[in-house]
């Protein structure tokens, strides 16, 4: 006690800060950092979950490099990212931009947009899966049949399956992005718009030269956040393609699903861990690139 009493105020604050931080720090080390380190270690080993771990060196990575499925999955993952992020960004901005100007039923509409974000991804995936079924079950195809348009194979097509799975994934994240965009829009002082109105600046100039530049921090956040989400897409794909995980000819399979299959179908832990490390590196590089590109010049 004497030792504590002799500390300066600053030192006492540090002691207390660490006392409170100790629990989360221990938690993070045990639950996060230890498994992460272990995953990197396993990626250099052979392990079937029950047997002995044996050293394999770079074998898992070399196998990955020469695996055509990996490259297909790699392309799919980036397709989710490159289509999903801009599409969800534009849609959520357009919704937020107009919702912000609306007074009538504002709260109710905002709730409607936020609802999918709170809904279970599994339930949602199964409902969308039903939408996509052929006649006489699927909603979309029934509608097409009713107006006399030929059937569309959604989930059983190598070209349509990926967009068909991406659509509900975009929709599910929309509510969150709309809320974030609205908060960003609200933070822009009204007088900026009033000044522009007095100067007679047309609305598109206001949008592209005032609103969007001032929303940049919000946009950076949403881009990074949704990119990570699309790179890690799993539950929508898994639940909409059960029975044939990854769709016809792996056309919808994202990296996380490949990891899941390697680990829990093939029990090739070393191979799965190597994929995890690659995914981690991709996430890291993409996030850093985005932060760098979108940062203030």
């Amino acid at each position: 006690m004497q030792v504590y009493r002799n500390l300066s105020i600053k030192q006492k604050q540090i002691v207390w800060a660490w006392a409170f931080l100790a629990l989360p720090v221990i938690f993070y080390v045990v639950i996060r950092f230890y498994p992460t380190g272990n995953a990197v270690l396993i990626s250099f080993q052979d392990w079937n979950l029950l047997g002995k771990r044996t050293w394999a060196g770079m074998e898992n990575y070399l196998k990955l490099w020469s695996d055509p499925v990996f490259w297909k999955v790699f392309r799919n993952t980036f397709a989710y990212l490159i289509i999903g992020t801009p599409v969800s960004l534009v849609i959520s901005f357009v919704i937020a931009y107009h919702l912000d100007k609306l007074r009538f039923m504002h709260g109710f509409l905002r709730m409607l947009y936020f609802l999918p974000f709170m809904t279970s991804a599994v339930a949602m995936a199964w409902v969308w899966r039903w939408f996509y079924q052929p006649v006489p079950i699927g909603l979309f195809n029934n509608f097409l049949a009713a107006v006399g348009i030929p059937q569309i194979e959604f989930l059983r097509s190598t070209t349509n399956a990926l967009p068909a799975i991406l659509a509900p994934a975009v929709w599910a994240g929309l509510g969150f992005q709309v809320i974030i965009f609205m908060a960003g829009l609200r933070a822009i002082p009204k007088s900026y718009y009033e000044a522009a109105r007095i100067d007679g600046v047309p609305w598109w100039s206001v949008l592209f030269e005032i609103t969007i530049p001032l929303l940049k921090p919000t946009i950076v956040f949403i881009v990074v956040f949704s990119s990570i989400g699309f790179l890690r897409i799993f539950d929508h794909v898994f639940n909409m393609t059960t029975g044939d995980p990854g769709g016809p000819l792996n056309s919808t399979k994202p990296l996380v699903l490949m990891i899941y299959n390697s680990a829990f179908t093939d029990f090739d832990m070393g191979y799965a861990a190597a994929q995890t490390v690659v995914l981690f590196l991709i996430l890291l590089i993409v996030s850093l690139l985005q932060l760098r590109i979108l940062r203030d010049r």
């Binding site: 000044a195 030269e209 530049p213």
Partner: protein, 351 residues
């Protein structure tokens, strides 16, 4: 160059009536200050003139044409906002030039105009900077520059100085006044600070609860306040109000003394006697304030003394070097022409 006329202007937000029957004639080139406590409707009036709010009733005329249904950009006005409303992601040059976006001018003409404005406001070397690299006063100048660049007929200022510190405010006050003498445009300036109103205005419009209390030159509103609100609002420290009753011999004050020499007041009529601290002089023969000094506030060139009269406190200004001691008894009077008499019920001036 334009005059501005407001005719029986009214504004309601739902059931709340914030402006009632505002009539005001502003001459071409005049510097008019709207002043009043917060919530008096001065900013709303300005925003209606700008076209940012719609009038519920009445008309706004600028340069002889009714502008009620015109967009702000078509009204030939410019506005300077309290928070400056300059865009943080644009350079000073772009900020000033933003107002010229829709002007029918060549690029060279626009550049020339921007530089001319920058020269007038003495900020040519700041053109390449971003607002974050500017001080408060410089930002204020950018906001004024953006308004000036369009060469509007009427400038509207919405409390532009209230975000500045006291010293800078005094300086900007002077700059705006000089600017007005130079550009000779009509200026309508909103503030809650009576000192700003007094120092800058050609004419002051004092408002309270959405109603104009008095319109007049600084000297008029100071020396001939129309009612007790104006009397108290203009001038610091504010005017002393001594309650009293009319008698045949003058006004009998609650303090027990009589004031004579003022206007005739009907017998038994309740009045308020208004007298400014600086008009109260010690030991006049006809003293109507008597009491003990309770507090001294030295200001250097003068000292404010608070006198307890037994029927309320009175503030008087005394000599800065030899003010009456705290605890001493003083007798104060004022020249009859410096004493204002108000009706105690309506607050209207009787003199």
């Amino acid at each position: 160059m334009a005059n501005v006329t407001l005719r029986s202007l009214g504004k309601s937000f739902g059931k709340t009536e914030v402006l009632k029957d505002i009539d005001l004639q502003i001459e071409d080139g005049e510097f008019v200050v709207l002043v009043g406590p917060s919530g008096c409707g001065k900013s709303t009036t300005l925003r209606i003139i700008a076209g940012l709010e719609e009038a519920s009733t009445g008309t706004v005329e600028i340069a002889g044409r009714v502008v009620n249904n015109l967009e702000p950009k078509d009204r030939d006005i410019a506005m300077v906002f309290q928070n400056y409303a300059i865009y943080p992601h644009m350079t000073v040059r772009k900020n000033i030039g933003f107002g010229l976006r829709t002007a029918k001018k060549t690029r060279a003409e626009k550049t020339e105009r921007i530089e001319e404005v920058a020269r007038i406001l003495d900020m040519t070397d700041l053109l390449a900077r971003k607002p974050s690299q500017l001080s408060g006063g410089q930002r204020q100048r950018v906001a004024i520059g953006r308004a000036m660049v369009r060469d509007p007929a009427v400038f509207l200022f919405d409390e532009p100085l209230s975000n500045l510190d006291a010293q800078l405010r005094t300086q900007m006050r002077l700059e705006i006044k000089k600017l007005h003498q130079r550009v000779e445009s009509t200026i309508i300036f909103v503030t809650h600070d009576q000192v700003e109103a007094m120092t800058m205005a050609d004419r002051i419009v004092i408002m309270k609860d959405g109603v104009i209390q008095q319109v007049g030159t600084p000297s008029e509103v100071y020396h001939k306040p129309a009612n007790t609100f104006v009397a108290r609002f203009i001038g610091a420290p504010s005017m002393n109000m001594l309650p009293g009753t009319g008698t045949d011999a003058g006004i009998h004050l609650k303090t027990g003394l009589n004031f004579t020499g003022g206007p005739a007041v009907a017998s038994r009529r309740e009045v308020l006697l208004g007298v400014r601290p600086e008009d109260l002089v010690p030991d006049g023969a006809a003293a109507f304030v008597e009491g003990k000094v309770t507090v001294q506030e030295p200001l250097g060139h003068e000292t404010l003394i608070y006198v307890d009269t037994g029927a309320g406190e009175v503030i008087a200004k005394a000599d800065g070097r030899r003010p009456p001691e705290v605890g001493s008894q003083v007798r104060l009077s004022a020249l009859p022409e410096n004493v204002h008499v108000f009706d105690a019920v309506t607050g209207q001036a009787l003199t």
